[in-house]
Each structure stands twice: as C-alpha cells, then as structure tokens.
C-alpha cells in the first residue's frame, strides 16, 4: 500500500523515532510503514490520521481509488 507518511513527517521535520514516539510504535515500525513493508492496522492508521489531522485515505492509497 502506498502512503504519504514520509512526506508528511519530513514536512514537520520529525525523525522516524520522533514519529514513532508520538504514535507509540518503534522507529522500525515507522520505517516499515513508510517503505511499504508493513501495512498498519486500522487502529494505527486512525492514530496516524489523527496525528496529521487528515483522513486515512488522504495518507494511504491502496491503488484502487
């Protein structure tokens, strides 16, 4: 699944560790989501969307839209 997490994080000048701390996940989890190796669960996707004050579908794209 494609996502804009890396861009959104970079816009706020957060490191992966900083974003991980805000989401209560590890730096490796953030890296895995950004690189598409791990698709976040729905609860985590909601946490990400709320953190960036966006809709889930504005951050994540399954390619079928």
């Amino acid at each position: 699944m494609n996502n804009r997490l890396r861009v959104l994080r970079a816009e706020r000048q957060w490191s992966q560790a900083e974003l991980g701390a805000r989401l209560d996940v590890s730096r490796q989890a953030v890296n895995a989501i950004e690189t598409g190796k791990h698709d976040p669960s729905l609860p985590l996707a909601f946490r990400i969307a709320r953190l960036f004050d966006m809709k889930i579908e504005d951050i994540f794209d399954d390619g079928n839209a």
């Binding site: 890396r6 994080r9 992966q16 560790a17 991980g20 209560d24 730096r27 989890a29 791990h38």
Partner: protein, 214 residues
C-alpha cells in the same frame, strides 16, 4: 535538507539499534585490542627500562585509535538511548533487558554441572536443585515474561515475532516428522529433542530479526 530528520538518511542498516549495537560491540573489541597492545608495549618497556621510538609510536597510535574506537562505541550506544521512544516501546525494551538478564542467569546455572563442568559441553547431569529452578523458569517465568513483553510490542514487531514463530513451527514439524520416519526406517538415529529445539530457536530468531530490521 540534510539533517537527522532527512527521511532518506534513516533507511540504512547502520541506523537501526541492532546495527548500532553490533558496530558498538566491534568498536569496543577493537578498542580493547588496541589497549591490549598499549599495555603489552608499556609492560615490555617497564621490564626493559627503556622503550624504542618505533614501539613508542606504535603504542601512541594504538592508544589514540583505541580511545577513538571507545568514543565511537560510546556515541553509538548513547544514540540508541537518546532516540525518543513511546511508552510501549520503552516498556518492551525494559522487558528485553530483563529477559537478557534472566538468560544470562540461566546460562550461568547451566554452566555448573554436578562435577563442576558445564552440562552443555561435557554432557554432565545438572544438579536436582538447579534442574528444578530451570524447569520453573521454563514453565512459569519465561512464558509470563514473554506474554507481558508481547503485549508491550508494537504491531510491527508482534507481526515479525509471529511470522518467525510460524516459520519455526513449520520447520520443527517438518524436521521432526522426517527424522522420525527415517529413524523408523533404520536410516537415522532416534529423534533427539535438543538439536530440533535449537534449530527451532535459531529459525525463529533469524526470521524475527529479518522481518523486524531488514
């Protein structure tokens, strides 16, 4: 923008805590090696009462390199703990440290056999007291600790651990079944638990680390 916030700068293997730990360990070993050389040169100099210019230069170079390596190791370890972490990640890390301490304690107990030799190496029996303590650890302490730790994990690491467990279980089933059948056919010795146990643990750990860090 070239800062530590640069997303591209965080994707290399060298940025993971495992890589930092490995590099810090190697740097520490290199530092120890250098300090060992300095100690050897100093001792030889004290015994002889004089030191050649060449030995002095080598000793000085080793001292400088050793100090630099120790400094690098210190920076890498400090970097791991300086990263901001969430509450769950901190809890999971703390439980990992507790598990490591327990592993060291179990290792020390396993290294003491009835005749003073390690049962792991010599095949000696373990004393009944130590056996009971280790059995309680295996049956109660380790499962409880694992459960508490697993609940503290984020979903990415939990998935890595679970996939590792699935692969290891399938390897365990396949190897046990194949070995047992071969033994029944008179082509192999009877199935032994310990090699299969060790293989399961190695496969589990390897897949878990692979999925988590690569």
């Amino acid at each position: 923008m070239v800062t530590h916030n640069d997303p591209a700068a965080e994707h290399g293997f060298g940025h993971s805590p495992v890589a930092k730990t490995i590099l810090a360990t190697l740097a520490s070993l290199g530092g120890l090696f250098c300090i060992g050389i300095v100690t050897g040169i100093t001792t030889a100099g004290l015994e002889k009462g004089s030191l050649s210019i060449r030995a002095g230069l080598i000793g000085t170079a080793c001292l400088v390199i050793g100090v630099l390596l120790f400094w690098q190791a210190f920076r890498m370890i400090r970097g791991i703990f300086a990263e901001p972490v969430g509450k769950s990640t901190r809890r999971a890390r703390m439980l990992t440290v507790v598990s490591l301490a327990l592993g060291v304690a179990i290792g020390i107990m396993l290294s003491v056999g009835e005749s003073g030799r390690s049962p792991l190496v010599s095949g000696d029996d373990i004393s009944p007291t130590v056996a009971v303590i280790l059995a309680v650890c295996a049956l109660v302490v380790v499962p409880v600790l694992t459960l508490v730790w697993f609940r503290a994990l984020d979903e990415h690491e939990a998935a890595a651990y679970s996939i590792g467990a699935l692969v290891a279980l399938n390897c365990n089933i396949a190897l046990t079944a194949a070995w047992w059948v071969l033994a029944k056919g008179g082509l192999a010795t009877p199935v032994e638990a310990m090699p299969i146990f060790l293989m399961t643990m190695v496969v589990w750990s390897a897949v878990w680390i692979w999925k988590r860090y690569f």
